[in-house]
Symmetry: C2
Subunit: 197 residues, 2 copies
DNA sequence: CCACATCTGTAGCGTTCACTACATATATGG
DNA sequence: CCATATATGTAGTGAACGCTACAGATGTGG
């Protein structure tokens, strides 16, 4: 059975990707509905009919962001060693942030800092997405420990927290204009701290 | 000669500190004039007469922030070794972010991420303040290299960039609710990467 | 006591915000 | 062809924004 009523004249997925791009660059509170409707190529009533309201649209965009990110990270997790995975992850992140035209920052980092000091409605959602990524590192490091790549005294959770922190910091520095070369050197020094041997 | 006209009934420095606190917690765009006037205990015309406008007030607050920060850092720079200085700096930062009631984030990190993707008028000002702090590390590490504490192959600039990145990342994680213990473990792992021996 | 200069509170300026009422257009179900 | 259901564009809602005109208050210099 086909749905009744006038069919929508735009593609919701494409529109969501456009919204994601704007939110990514300007943050939640820094993005206005008129910016969104312009970028998405639709009028306000269409936006509200399809996505609810600004907050729900942001949540949907965030889900989409996390989905794409998870795909990329999952691919990297299959690297033969955890160390190679981490090096490739740095390369990938740096390659993205330091490329002209791309947003220079992780959307979750920007979102976390943009939404007030605490208690913002969106904070939990973003924390959850951040935790998802971190958990992927924890699991990969646990595997590495089991296979003998990492020494016994290293806690996978701590190591994951450390590398997430470096990644978050690189996001901040990229946003404030750090070059590809500077970021590469940060990654190199972060990898100097790799445990073992 | 005394100044003519009715004297102001509030203390400008105290008012600026109040404004700093609000900007620190909510960022530039997340702070409204009415929040500021309420926190500062003055009315809008008084605010505008004393500080120009919102942007100029933010710049003044930022200058004040950087001034206090520079005092703290300067004190730490006199630690006998660069390594001890770095460890104390981590302790200090963690102690601040993880304490109830304090802002959970560096004001410059929040400000950098809050002001649009690029080209914001305030971005340059914040980049400059960030560079000032980083330069203090560069100079301390240069001294450490000269005294033999750091090996020849280490570039002070790179090492400073790395530790600033970790600090920035800790700011992000503190803002998203990281505990004192988690931050301590991050610092410990960051110090594992200390060059030498 | 009288200009003059500056601060203070009220009240409101124009603009932008997130969001929506309404009329119209276009599909399906009978 | 008609009733129903959903999408669309225009145009505008009340609220909050940054900021300021204005009148009254309070100081200094003559």
């Amino acid at each position: 059975m086909g749905t009744m009523g006038r069919p929508r004249e735009f593609d919701a997925k494409q529109a969501l990707d456009k919204a994601l791009d704007v939110f990514w660059r300007h943050g939640y509170e820094g993005t206005s509905i008129s910016e969104l409707t312009h970028a998405m190529g639709i009028s306000p009533p269409s936006l509200y009919a399809a996505f609810g309201n600004k907050e729900k649209l942001f949540r949907s965009a965030l889900d989409r962001y996390a989905e794409v990110r998870k795909q990329v990270w999952t691919e990297l997790m299959s690297e033969p060693t955890a160390r190679a995975m981490m090096e490739r992850l740095f390369d990938r992140v740096i390659g993205f942030y330091a490329t002209e035209g791309n947003p220079h920052c992780c959307m979750l980092v920007k979102g976390t800092l943009t939404s007030g000091d605490c208690g913002h409605v969106l904070a939990d959602h973003m924390s959850a997405k951040r935790a998802e990524s971190e958990q992927m590192l924890v699991e990969r490091f646990t595997k590495a420990k089991a296979s003998g790549e990492l020494p016994e005294e290293i806690e996978p959770k701590d190591l994951a927290g450390y590398y997430m922190t470096v990644l978050d910091g690189m996001s901040v520095r990229a946003a404030s204009g750090a070059s590809r070369d500077e970021l590469r050197k940060v990654a190199a020094l972060a990898m100097r701290g790799w445990p073992g041997q």
